[in-house]
Symmetry: C2
Subunit: 503 residues, 2 copies
């Protein structure tokens, strides 16, 4: 008989694999008698033990039967068809899958090939000192962390450290039982949707909303209700008569516009939530970075009726690859969030939680924030200066008091012209991102979202100069409100005198 | 005016907090004029800069208004009611929340206070060498891991290492694009439910099923269809005429009974799935530990029609606190699982993924498995020997060829007597866990699930001796099938001659 051994791994495993394949392929049929181990061994030039071991393995697996005193036979195994490549494209198997497919993350991806300056939001600051400190914290935590299944709602030490931190820095009065440690804002919203929303329930989001929240709610099957915002945040006078089940807000730094929700609006929103018994989700993603004052206390700090689900993350303060965040939930929802987190994934990785608990408790976290704040402030000032110097007459900046990005509105640009600007800049190695894809309904003004955390002062200097060039190249000759070009002029060539050139 | 400073943190923050509280509490009313900074400073014995800084902070937050040349006034802030403690118990807000509340994890918790020997399944092996190696891998990974948002489906290096490993050890032929890295089996099932099941859809589970899978499917709203098993695993002749959308199986080591699904049944199950276009979820949780042969190839290795969703985890091979696992999904579902994972949490923590990729690639993982296998085999043999020696006539063991636990059936015990045994043992410091809570319908036989990974040889020796004592103490005098005691005799006192004593 012919046996094809593939030469990978130990010989007994090779032989077992070869025989298995022959049986499944139908070349060795059910009932066939195999050569005695001694014969097989000499035939294949193997030791008899190798053959014995392969036969025994296949007997355990059910491919062979041994009859005492009579030899080894192929068991009653059906020959299998050759493997079929299943198709890549099929109908979505559920409504969830259909909705998940329809989420388009492309406008929020990084720039990719040939990009020297990437202005995407959500890029972390590179800070070698942070990584050294974090590495030390991790290695220490790995020494003493409990290897067993964790407390699903989070390591007690981390929940305590968070309560202490939130009390001091965000005015949030929480006890450890209110806290659920999660793997970032995205999971926090997923849990919120699971616990609070049936398919088809209404969820209010700021217009424009943060795309991660929007995607999670949409995929869950929520009906998204856009809530208008202005320069003081959510316009509470225009909240719907019929309240949605939840309202998601970013009071400290509206994403992406960068405005801060005013105190009267905050109070009005809380009154609305109490009166209508709906829940507020406060996404406090980068409030730690505030440049004209101390960070503003969280909405939850003035929430008297326990209607606010507070969401915090380490993606901005440290880095997104961590996938670590937390919820502070109303007492009435503690049990449900705890159960949902347990059922979701039995809890968040323990070593990283232990490292973070220590990182907060020993002051490393706040030291890092202070340092990062200073760095970000310098970059922000440089950006603002660069924009003024290189494109002052064409731009208007919002959201410059906090966070890690600027919203830059382009005077006299419509969306087509904004796209032309993006194309021209890309050809020069500068990745720009329009604000428009963040909106549920197309916005009237055109603008860019400029993340500045991922670039050094030197890089930002160059980037602002290139941005200025590109804006001047693509701007309408005379700055008038919305000098609408035809759709043809919105292509990648721009309309300036000099053709785009690669740097 | 009276200002109560609480002494926590910097003085300007204390003053701001005190004024904020006074305004929200209604003691400082809208329109009231604050003392000039100089007066306030001398009144409170603070520096003028401290007062200036507090006033400015409250102006930014919206609590104060400054009128040029006229002073500082309390803004139009509504006094807030005192904080209300919201009730702990409320109606579940959604069907999901109601179902999640109804999941009872208590039978699957650890023993707790006063327990010297805990036989709960899922306890990790304590192996100091593993932690040292893991700590080193983590620290190294923290050095070079990319801090940005990860690839949601998993770090490419880890997906490649997994494909290589699965090919060699589990016979699974996968490419990196088939793999989705997740935070453990629990999340894998949660994603599967999201992608494949509408509320009310049927999901087949082995009877008894693994409780984590059962909880995830149940909370999602699946209709659970119990599928009977025997000593060759799932009885494929008795699969329902109308196929469920998914069928969850543990072919390598049925949880909790410990039986292996036979080859003909595996083939029959795959034919059934192909014919009915349903999906098989293969939970391969601890197949790496097999003691009478090499690990058996996975069901997915003979899946010709690409119907198997393979689920692997590091909770058993390394330790559960990691929260790391992976899926190998059919081509037709790649896109949907990828989208669902992205929407769920934007991906799994990167440093741990990078560490694991290296751990597998440099051979540490398989070295650890070989070592752990030898350790577990020794413990298993000791357990079997101890059971034979101390309670041989009363027990029958299944599932002794693989994994990290034994299913031990108690001859002549009914469920009440089994509970009495548990109670007697607990009083002696031995935590035992009946099999019954794992079943969807009450099983006919009584038995225990004995996890042996968490205890040393020495501890197991003592534990088996105590177990023997307790069994002899609670067993019916003459071993007959189900000599049913009255409900009164099922209490915590047992019925042996010696009263339970604390060790």
């Amino acid at each position: 008989m012919q046996v094809d051994m593939d030469g990978r791994g130990p010989r007994h495993a090779q032989l077992a694999r070869a025989l298995r394949t022959a049986i499944l392929g139908g070349r060795l049929r059910a009932g066939a008698r195999l050569p005695a181990t001694r014969n097989m061994a000499s035939q294949l030039n193997l030791s008899r033990n190798t053959v014995l071991s392969a036969y025994e393995q296949l007997r355990v697996e059910g491919y062979l039967r041994a009859r005492v005193g009579s030899g080894t036979y192929v068991a009653d195994v059906a020959a299998a068809k050759p493997r079929r490549q299943s198709p890549l494209a099929t109908e979505p198997p559920t409504r969830y899958a259909a909705r998940a497919r329809s989420v388009d993350f492309r406008p929020f991806k990084r720039g990719g090939e040939g990009i020297r300056w990437d202005m995407q939001v959500g890029e972390p600051m590179t800070d070698p000192a942070l990584f050294t400190a974090w590495r030390r914290a991790l290695a220490r935590a790995a020494l003493y962390a409990d290897p067993r299944y964790p407390d699903a709602t989070g390591l007690p030490a981390l929940r305590e450290a968070l309560c202490d931190y939130l009390g001091r820095r965000r005015g949030v009065d929480a006890e450890p039982a209110d806290v659920v440690v999660v793997s970032g804002t995205q999971q926090a919203i997923g849990l919120t949707a699971r616990v609070l929303l049936e398919e088809g329930d209404a969820a209010g989001v700021e217009e424009p909303p943060y795309f991660g929240i929007r995607a999670a709610l949409w995929a869950h099957g929520a009906r998204l209700i856009p809530l208008v915002t202005d320069t003081a945040g959510l316009i509470t006078d225009r909240l719907p008569k019929r309240a949605p089940r939840i309202i998601c807000v970013t009071p400290a730094n509206q994403f992406p516009s960068g405005v801060v929700m005013s105190l009267p609006r905050r109070q009005a929103l809380l009154r609305y939530a109490s009166a209508n018994r709906c829940w507020i989700v406060e996404d406090d993603y980068d409030s730690e970075f505030r440049y004209d004052s101390e960070p503003l206390p969280a909405l939850r700090s003035i929430d008297r009726d326990d209607r606010v689900i507070y969401v915090g993350t380490f993606s901005k303060t440290l880095f997104p690859a961590l996938r670590l965040g937390y919820l502070v939930v109303p007492r009435a929802l503690r049990r449900d969030f705890g159960a949902a987190k347990r059922i979701h994934d039995f809890g968040t990785p323990v070593i990283e939680q232990a490292a973070m608990a220590q990182f907060i408790a020993d002051g490393s976290f706040e030291r890092h924030i202070r340092k990062a704040s200073a760095t970000l402030r310098a970059r922000r000032e440089l950006m603002l200066e660069g924009l003024r110097a290189h494109a002052g007459e064409h731009v208007e900046v919002s959201g410059s008091h906090a966070g890690m990005h600027l919203a830059v509105w382009l005077r006299g640009f419509d969306q087509d012209r904004c796209q032309a600007l993006v194309d021209v800049a890309r050809a020069k190695g500068l990745a720009l991102y329009p604000i428009a894809p963040h909106y549920l309904a197309a916005p009237r003004r055109a603008g860019l979202l400029l993340g500045y955390a991922g670039l050094s002062v030197r890089e930002l200097e160059a980037a602002m100069q290139v941005l200025g060039e590109c804006i001047r190249e693509t701007a309408p000759r005379v700055t008038r409100p919305t000098q609408s070009p035809g759709p043809e002029s919105g292509g990648s060539r721009g309309r300036g005198a000099s053709a785009p050139r690669r740097l």
